[in-house]
């Protein structure tokens, strides 16, 4: 991650937790958070655990703390099937509910692109955690959009740096062949400019291989991989595309320890279908998997033991479940820090605007 990007990330955090405007009088009954989910369709394997993580964390806050600062959280799910037009429909349906959405998590780069221009008009903050438009990290131009804690660009450079480490130094990258297999959509293409830049800088040979959505059909892609025989493969897939890619890689005996998935391509559901062959597959994420954290004990105690869990207890702690938890946590803390007494009329964006002027 370059210093500049890091700085932007820190700034974004600072701005989110920035100074408050004077407290507003009216105390709302609840905080409304729309949840754009996809529990059906080709992307459901990735969509279900995230949605469960979100819901479980909000249930936990309501059960344990009585909400955020004593104000209950209300949410409503809307099924998008990862389709942009359905996402827009859901956003329109839910943005005004419960006195106005506190923030929206689009959970699709395509939908995020749709919502970025709308959010500024509707004054609804968009929180695209580690996805969406990378350029929107710059709060000067996108005051309503947050993609903290990190972006596809910083991830791409982190992955290249990791490869450099494994090869024994970034100068050793010269002449190495690296393939980027990506979902042929705004999401998958997002890392390409960074990779191209780094390829020029370090002199490795970059091959960009697009896989059309949803990604069940990858035979031709992996034929190209076999012909090219790259030293490293970086995968930016989603949903069923990940499972197919990993299975294909196993079937051509590609060395798994040279196969890196980005944070949407490294969940339990992606590797299980490939069986033992997938052992050693590398995933790049910005949070840890597993249930070894205090939060999970709390979730078990306050949510699952009371029979209020959104999913199966055994699936708590999956990579994408934890992503949902992390995202819900950031959302909740952003709401908490921005509004000591949350007003329906004046949600978090008001603060954001005044804060961004002073912070940047």
């Amino acid at each position: 991650m370059s210093v500049k990007r890091l700085l932007i990330g820190v700034l974004a955090t600072a701005v989110m937790a920035g100074p408050m405007v004077p407290a507003v009088s009216a105390q709302p009954k609840e905080i409304f958070i729309p949840l754009l989910v996809y529990r059906t369709g080709p992307f459901a394997p990735s969509g279900v655990p995230i949605a469960n993580g979100f819901v479980d964390y909000f249930t936990l806050l309501n059960e344990r703390d009585g909400g955020i600062n004593g104000v209950k959280i209300a949410w409503e799910e809307c099924e998008t099937q990862y389709a942009t037009d359905k996402g827009v429909e859901c956003y329109e349906k839910l943005k005004g509910k419960g006195g106005g959405a506190a923030l929206v998590n689009p959970y699709s780069t395509g939908i995020t692109y749709q919502l970025i221009p709308k959010a500024a008009v509707d004054k609804v903050p968009v929180f695209s955690m580690g996805y969406g438009m990378t350029a929107s990290a710059d709060g000067r131009w996108f005051p309503w959009v947050f993609n903290f804690p990190t972006t596809y660009w910083s991830q791409a450079s982190a992955v290249i740096r990791y490869i450099g480490q494994k090869e024994g130094g970034l100068d050793k990258l010269k002449g190495k062949k690296i393939a980027h297999i990506f979902h042929n959509s705004a999401y998958g293409k997002e890392a390409n400019p960074t990779l191209e830049d780094l390829a020029r800088q370090y002199g490795f040979e970059l091959t960009l291989l697009a896989v059309d959505s949803p990604g069940q059909e990858q035979k031709s892609t992996w034929l190209q991989v076999r012909r090219l025989n790259p030293n490293w493969i970086f995968l930016s897939g989603w949903g069923v595309m990940n499972q197919v890619a990993i299975k294909e890689a196993v079937s051509i005996n590609y060395p798994m320890d040279h196969f890196i998935g980005n944070w949407w391509s490294s969940s339990d559901a992606d590797v299980i279908p490939a069986g033992d062959g997938a052992k050693g597959y590398i995933g790049a994420t910005f949070h840890a998997p597993g249930t070894g954290f205090k939060i999970h004990q709390e979730v078990f105690k306050h949510v699952y033991d009371k029979g209020k869990g959104a999913g199966e207890k055994a699936r708590v702690g999956e990579v994408l479940y934890n992503r949902g938890i992390a995202n819900a946590m950031f959302s909740a803390e952003a709401i908490r820090t921005s509004a000591p007494s949350i007003s329906r009329r004046m949600p978090l964006p008001m603060r954001r605007n005044s804060a961004s002027a002073s912070a940047i």
Binding site: V48, E79, V88, E89, G110, A210
Partner: protein, 358 residues
């Protein structure tokens, strides 16, 4: 009793050949158009306009386009999504290159661009028919989407491959871009639809439409009586693609706001084809009914459990929606294989005899 033309005499050829020869129809349609233009912008909230009515107007235009080709000229096409993408990308390139150009002019030019592309992909129709032609147009669908994905020039070298509708005004009123209000976008989409629906209705009543239908019903017979298959079929492709192109441009500029090629994938082609089949092949009204069915019924089904007070999980709700929707399609096609337009026609005939059927 109410719906009867007794006493309405036609004294000129013009009156006899009018689109709506019966007074009651004229009144009904005029009222319908007035209501469509005036009521939603005044009373509908943003959700209804943005998520229901604007896509409805745009899909209806695309369905009319495909109906001209498939319903009237008998050429099955699965390339609708591709032709809509041509319209969308052409409009994007035109309006970013010539920002001063009126956006309506841009839509028409984008339609013409799509018509040119449609003309090229219509060439195989001279030799192949039916299902084989469907496969050939499928090639258009995949090729065009691949092209827009591959060549970054079409998206002005956007790294994400996304095109975004820039802010444009018509007579000083913001029409596209994030600041355009839903009522304005709705009225523009409806205006375009009204004009082009009228044009389509007149096209199919005139010489061109009659030659299309002649080709559809028996191409050899049509050729013998002097209809030139080459010109007629290509014209059908061009006109149909023009409509789809305009609809595609509106799809991005008035509805989605920004889009990637994923928005124009094969699913869209099938969706429009289903609208045409369910609405009624060879009927302009059918295009409207089909679009309304496909757009409105899923939204109705999504919101129905909640309105009834049943708090179903979203996944179950979605699956129920798909099942009921599929069931309804099968039901309507069994009841009336010629589509909703035919149902409407039958009910009109019944209404004329009411309350004294033979």
């Amino acid at each position: 009793m109410i719906y009867r033309e007794a006493g309405q005499f036609k004294t000129s050829y013009g009156a006899d050949q009018a689109i709506f020869p019966i007074l009651q129809d004229r009144v009904l349609v005029t009222l319908g158009i007035l209501v469509a233009f005036l009521v939603p912008p005044l009373i509908a909230d943003e959700y209804w306009l943005q998520a229901v009515l604007i896509p409805l107007a745009i899909y209806a235009l695309a369905a009319i386009g495909l109906n001209l080709l498939t319903g009237y000229a008998g050429q099955v096409s699965l390339g609708t999504g591709g032709f809509m993408a041509v319209g969308a990308y052409a409009a994007f390139k035109l309006t970013t290159s010539f920002p001063g150009l009126n956006i309506l002019v841009v839509f028409v030019l984008a339609g013409l661009m799509a018509a040119a592309v449609g003309l090229v992909f219509g060439i195989p129709s001279l030799r192949i028919k039916g299902f084989y032609l469907a496969v050939a147009t499928l090639a258009a669908q995949f090729f065009l989407i691949w092209l827009f994905n591959k060549v970054a020039w079409f998206t002005n070298y956007a790294s994400s491959g996304t095109i975004t509708a820039p802010p444009r005004t018509i007579f000083g009123v913001m029409t596209t871009g994030p600041l355009a209000t839903a009522p304005v976008r709705y009225v523009v989409a409806l205006g375009v639809l009204a004009v082009f629906a009228l044009v389509a209705k007149n096209l199919v009543r005139g010489r061109m439409g009659r030659s299309w239908m002649a080709i559809r019903d028996r191409d050899i017979a049509a050729e013998i009586i002097g209809v030139r298959p080459l010109r007629t079929k290509l014209l059908a492709f061009a006109v149909s693609s023009f409509y789809c192109g305009v609809a595609g441009a509106e799809y991005v500029f008035l509805y989605l706001g920004s889009a990637e090629t994923l928005a124009f994938d094969i699913a869209l082609s099938f969706l429009v084809l289903f609208m045409v089949i369910i609405g009624g092949l060879g009927s302009i009204l059918g295009s409207f009914l089909g679009a309304a069915f496909i757009v409105l019924v899923p939204i109705l089904l999504t919101n129905a459990p909640e309105a009834l007070g049943l708090g179903l999980p979203v996944a179950l709700q979605k699956q129920l929606e798909l099942m009921v929707f599929g069931g309804l399609i099968v039901f309507f096609l069994i009841v009336e294989p010629h589509g909703l337009a035919r149902l409407w026609q039958i009910s009109k005939e019944k209404l004329r005899l009411w309350p004294f059927p033979h």
